[in-house]
């Protein structure tokens, strides 16, 4: 229970703590959660399923309150509780870190995320999913760029429509299942037509959150106006809820619709990979450029999920971790440039590497990780994902493979325009200790997964096997 109580508790403490202590409260809270998660990881054997909360009570409408994790759930919790301290750490030298409400909201976000990743009941999943919307909405509202108002409304309507789809699907499923627990929902078998609409509802929610083409138009604007911490939370963690949701909920609950959906989602993912990558090539705003880059990268992951075989899903988890690390790193770099220079426009930057060599180095490391060079987590993740897609259809593999080329084009362009050449500014303050430490930690994790990706596969593999088994076991056909 500690992984829920600690963030909630610290969300409260941060709200009432004295202002000069509040940033430490946030960090202590995040680190405590990490320590708890680490003890859970140490005592965890990948094949088991741990129940965290189960009152053995079913409400009249089928809510079971079940919470718990298996390998992939714990992996996501670990990712969350590693990334939250890094995100807080990288914001430590900014005024936002001293805000009570900011720290409180990040803790609430952590609570919501952990809930999403450990929910074993459909309604609980939905509730935690919705809960995460509050802190991110408020963080952008309170601390975002001046032009945020309309953009936020668009963001909110988008996610709300998506959530509605998911809720309808859950309700529909509820009429067939005896309760909303994950096992009960998986156990029912649907006729393809019903399954199509049920998967469609989930897909709407997840496609918007990821986001997939053409449900993505809220993303570049929201990423751009959100404060750095908000963009990090959105790209580093929140979109992973949707990717995870596809694996845990969308496909296992209505696998009968895969025949129809597989092709649709892979096509959309593929369009997104190319579309966003091509648009990213000529973007002038560095944050928006990385936002489009993110759409391109997650399109590949979403397409990989739809293949739903163990090999590709293992790669998906590697890429999920990789994307979290790289996105947070890239938006940290963009945030540093924006804060120090007061602009996000690439043409007004240039020559920063000469004035701030440390920043130049670490930004380069993250940029290289983003183009998946050897020894970084993206290298093996992308290799396996592309292999999977190639096995599905060679043209899909080839088209998705162009990310190898386009990724290099826009990432290196962004890096070179901002960092190379003669400096266009008088001075540029090099990295502060907390920024340096954040870059360093991100890099360490990127290298660990890059050199020994098997660690991820061993962690999530058995739970994937179990998921497949439980899906095969479902047999009762319901119209």
């Amino acid at each position: 229970m500690e992984i829920y109580i600690i963030p909630l508790l610290f969300a409260l403490i941060a709200a009432i703590a004295p202002k000069n202590l509040v940033k430490h409260v946030g960090l202590v809270g995040a680190l405590s959660s990490l320590v708890v998660t680490l003890t859970q990881v140490v005592s965890f054997s990948p094949a088991e399923t741990v129940t965290l909360f189960d009152p053995n009570f079913i409400t009249s409408f089928g809510l079971t309150f079940k919470m718990g994790y298996d390998g992939m759930g714990l992996f996501m919790v670990l990712l969350t509780n590693v990334m939250i301290p890094i995100i807080l750490l990288s914001n430590l030298n900014r005024s936002i870190a001293n805000e009570k409400s900011f720290n409180s909201m990040v803790m609430l976000m952590q609570f919501g995320l952990v809930g999403v990743f450990t929910a074993m009941d459909g309604i609980m999943f939905y509730v935690f999913w919705e809960l995460t919307l509050i802190p991110i909405f408020l963080i952008v509202l309170w601390y975002g760029a001046p032009e945020r108002k309309n953009i936020l409304i668009k963001f909110f309507i988008y996610t709300f429509v998506g959530s509605l789809g998911m809720l309808l699907s859950l309700m529909a499923l509820g009429t067939y299942a005896k309760d909303f627990s994950h096992e009960s929902l998986v156990a029912i078998q649907l006729v393809p037509k019903t399954a199509f609409w049920i998967m469609g509802g989930f897909f709407l929610a997840f496609a918007i959150k990821i986001p997939l083409f053409p449900f993505h138009t809220w993303q570049p604007t929201t990423y751009t106006v959100a404060p750095m911490a908000g963009t990090m939370l959105l790209s580093g963690l929140m979109l992973k809820m949707a990717l995870f949701g596809m694996i845990r909920w969308m496909i296992p609950l209505a696998p009968e619709a895969m025949a129809d959906f597989k092709c649709i989602v892979i096509t959309l993912g593929l369009i997104g990979i190319l579309y966003a990558a091509i648009i990213a090539i000529k973007q002038s705003d560095i944050k928006r450029l990385f936002a489009f880059a993110s759409i391109s990268h997650v399109g590949l992951i979403a397409a990989g999920i739809m293949l739903f075989d163990k090999e590709t899903l293992s790669a998906v988890f590697i890429q999920i971790a990789n994307h979290s690390l790289v996105a947070v790193g890239l938006f940290l770099a963009a945030g540093i440039l924006e804060k120090r220079l007061g602009t996000r426009t690439l043409s007004e930057m240039g020559g920063v590497a000469k004035l701030a060599p440390k920043f130049g180095f670490w930004f380069a490391v993250i940029a290289f990780a983003s183009v998946s060079v050897p020894f970084t987590s993206g290298f093996i993740g992308e290799f396996l994902l592309l292999k999977g897609l190639y096995g599905y259809n060679w043209m899909v593999g080839l088209a998705a493979g162009t990310t190898l080329v386009f990724g290099a084009v826009y990432t290196l362009r962004a890096y070179q325009l901002s960092m190379y050449g003669a400096p266009k500014m008088e001075s540029f303050k090099d990295l502060t200790w907390n920024e340096l430490l954040a870059f360093f930690l991100i890099t360490v994790f990127i290298l660990i997964i890059g050199v020994y990706p098997q660690v991820v596969i061993d962690f999530v593999g058995p739970s994937l096997d179990k998921l497949f088994l439980s899906m095969q076991a479902s047999n009762t056909l319901i119209p």
Binding site: P374, V409, I457
Partner: protein, 641 residues
């Protein structure tokens, strides 16, 4: 020490050097940084020689499993056989000399420790590439050398004038290589889907012993994809334009990466995969390889004729020689290609380092029109550069003469037409190389007085590598003497490579009679000497200097302007993609998608008017009550639990 341990040390040493210099180099003296980087290289080379001397058989060294899934495993595994050892010798041998040279050449550079870190890292990646036992390891090293090449081309990224341009050159190299890499990657997937493994020995077994016969189209597809990968790294048409631009990097980088080692990775890939390229389906690929190589060889040689940047001439010469190598591979003459790879590594490294020594003496001037008469000022550089020039031009008894001759002999057997076209390329090579040599080292000095005052011979750390490479360039031909010279003991290198490298038919000796062979050689010798005399008359006796850019017209202009490849690619690929990028954003993203969404939202808004009356419409209040509800429920059940 066993071969296993030796190989591991060969691999670990450059990585160790990179780690030490990368982490601590900033606070160490330049002397120490350079010494560490160079010493690890020489020790690596010495260990490679020990492996070479030990009577080794084909060995696999398992490091660990990168990925182990139910039906598919990627091994981090090394393969020691003649081919990988031979490449290791070239990489570490030429590499050590270039490290030594760099100690002097880079001595005034601020990024000294970074330079040696990247250089050591490059060697490590290159060794992974050649020593790996499967295509995954090769791809790992392949991408690794790509990123090191990027870092080193753009090494002077903060330069006031050229910083951005260096970056653009680096980016161009990386991206063009990535296009080839995509081909290679698809090739890997094809191999996996067909054979279920990426291990060289297992693949060779399947094709040769188990006699698995994949469809013709499959083998064509696989080999074509591998070749596409090779065109990127080894700068063949259509992916060759990055290599001349890569000369933006410091000259030792051009010598090591863009002449002697990395660009031969494509050749290595094909030789390594010879068992694939010898299957029936791959014959079309072989032909494609032959003609692409032939075209590249001619085009690059033509462009080199009227280049005035000393490094650009050498760069196009490298492209041209690589083309020649692909012609050899297209004919299945794998050991002949490896022989030329070896001699080319010697004399091209020598020429590049020599040009580095010239540039060093000229205070960073690279335009040969501002040089002239340098032989009096920098005698060692001059003598060694002359040897390099003679070697690449195929002057009798020097290394390039033998290695080129072997390829030409294969060409005669293959088709007289191809032989004739190759001879044109060979002749052009001799012409532009002698032109380069005479304009740079003969005549009178054409630079400013200040530049003349500054002229000086390079330090020992730079001249010693030049001398060693010059000796190798002279005697390198002895490695693989043709049958016509001696009764026995010939073709030593071919036999060495063949004796434990897996393949169907690695050696293809040219079955020419002695008189035919002598006739070929005689013709080549005669041509070289005529060209030497001709260029001597034009550039020394008549003292004509290269024309200024405005005076050029006709074929000279086309050559000088690189046949407009960059402009054509720009118009065909770069501009359209940028146009699409802008239009997609303007119209599809901001107009179509955004507008339609807003319209949809408006629709909801209208229908919402009806239900709005009993909804407060304040989002925060919905969310607030929702949370209250959740928290209440959780607390309730917590208490109850």
């Amino acid at each position: 020490m066993s071969v296993d341990q030796l190989i591991l040390m060969i691999l670990a040493l450059p990585l160790l050097g990179a780690l030490i210099n990368g982490t601590l180099g900033k606070n160490m003296s330049k002397q120490l940084v350079g010494s560490i980087a160079t010493v690890v290289m020489f020790v690596s080379f010495a260990l490679a020689l020990m492996v070479f001397n030990s009577n080794h058989t084909t060995q696999l060294i398992q490091l660990f499993d990168v990925i182990k899934l139910d039906d598919f495993t990627l091994h981090a595994r090394l393969q020691v056989d003649s081919l990988s050892i031979w490449m290791t010798l070239i990489v570490t041998g030429v590499g050590s000399l270039i490290h030594l040279f760099s100690m002097g050449y880079m001595s005034h550079d601020k990024g000294y420790y970074k330079f040696f870190t990247y250089l050591n890292l490059f060697i490590f990646a290159m060794l992974i590439l050649v020593l790996g036992s499967n295509y995954f390891m090769l791809f790992f090293g392949w991408e690794g050398v790509g990123i090191c090449s990027y870092l080193l081309i753009g090494f002077h990224y903060s330069d006031e004038q050229k910083g951005m341009l260096n970056g653009v050159a680096a980016r161009k190299a990386f991206i063009m290589n990535r296009i080839g890499d995509l081909g290679l990657l698809i090739g890997l997937f094809l191999i996996l889907s067909q054979f279920g493994t990426l291990e060289y020995t297992e693949l060779a077994d399947k094709l040769t012993i188990e006699n698995i016969e994949p469809s013709t189209w499959m083998m064509f597809g696989i080999t074509l994809c591998l070749f596409i990968g090779a065109t990127g790294k080894s700068a063949q048409i259509p992916l060759f334009t990055w290599l001349p631009d890569a000369m933006a990097g410091p000259t030792p980088v051009s010598a090591l990466i863009h002449a002697a080692t990395m660009v031969t990775a494509g050749i290595f890939l094909v030789v390594r995969s010879n068992f694939m390229f010898e299957t029936p389906g791959a014959q079309i690929t072989q032909d494609i390889m032959l003609y692409v190589g032939l075209a590249t060889s001619l085009v690059a040689a033509f462009i080199a004729m009227r280049q005035n940047d000393i490094k650009k001439v050498l760069a196009y010469s490298t492209v041209s020689q690589l083309g020649l190598l692909f012609v050899a591979l297209g004919m299945g003459a794998y050991t002949a290609a490896m022989f030329h790879v070896t001699t080319h590594a010697f004399f091209k490294a020598l020429l590049f380092l020599g040009s580095g020594s010239v540039i060093h003496a000229m205070s960073d001037e690279q335009d040969i029109r501002k040089m002239g008469g340098l032989r009096k000022f920098i005698p060692i550089t001059h003598a060694t550069f002359l040897i390099g020039t003679l070697a690449i031009a195929g002057f009798p008894l020097l290394s390039g003469f033998y290695s080129k001759d072997e390829i030409l002999a294969h060409a005669v057997m293959h088709s007289p037409v191809i032989y004739a076209i190759l001879m044109v390329s060979v002749a052009m090579t001799a012409i532009y190389m002698f032109r380069l040599y005479f304009i740079t080292f003969h005549g009178s000095f054409r630079g400013s007085d200040e530049a003349k005052h500054h002229l000086h011979e390079s330090p020992k750390s730079m001249t010693i590598p030049l001398l060693v490479l010059a000796i190798l360039s002279v005697f390198g031909g002895l490695l693989n003497l043709p049958g016509v010279i001696l009764a026995k003991g010939t073709h030593w290198m071919s036999h060495y490579l063949e004796h434990n490298t897996r393949g169907l038919e690695l050696i293809k000796t040219e079955h020419l009679t002695n008189s035919q062979a002598m006739l070929l050689m005689g013709g080549a010798v005669l041509m070289t000497i005529i060209i030497l005399f001709g260029t001597f008359v034009v550039y020394v006796k008549r003292n004509s200097v290269a024309k200024s850019d405005e005076q050029l017209k006709g074929w000279e202009l086309a050559s000088n302007q690189k046949l407009y490849f960059d402009e054509i690619y720009n118009a065909l690929f770069v501009k359209p993609i940028e146009w699409i990028s802008v239009k997609l954003h303007q119209f599809v993203e901001l107009f179509v998608l955004n507008k339609s969404i807003l319209g949809f939202v408006g629709l909801i808004d209208k229908s919402g008017n009806i239900v709005r009356k009993w909804q407060s419409g304040i989002v925060a209040s919905y969310l607030f009550w929702m949370v209250v509800g959740i928290v209440g429920l959780v607390v309730y059940y917590l208490v109850k639990f």
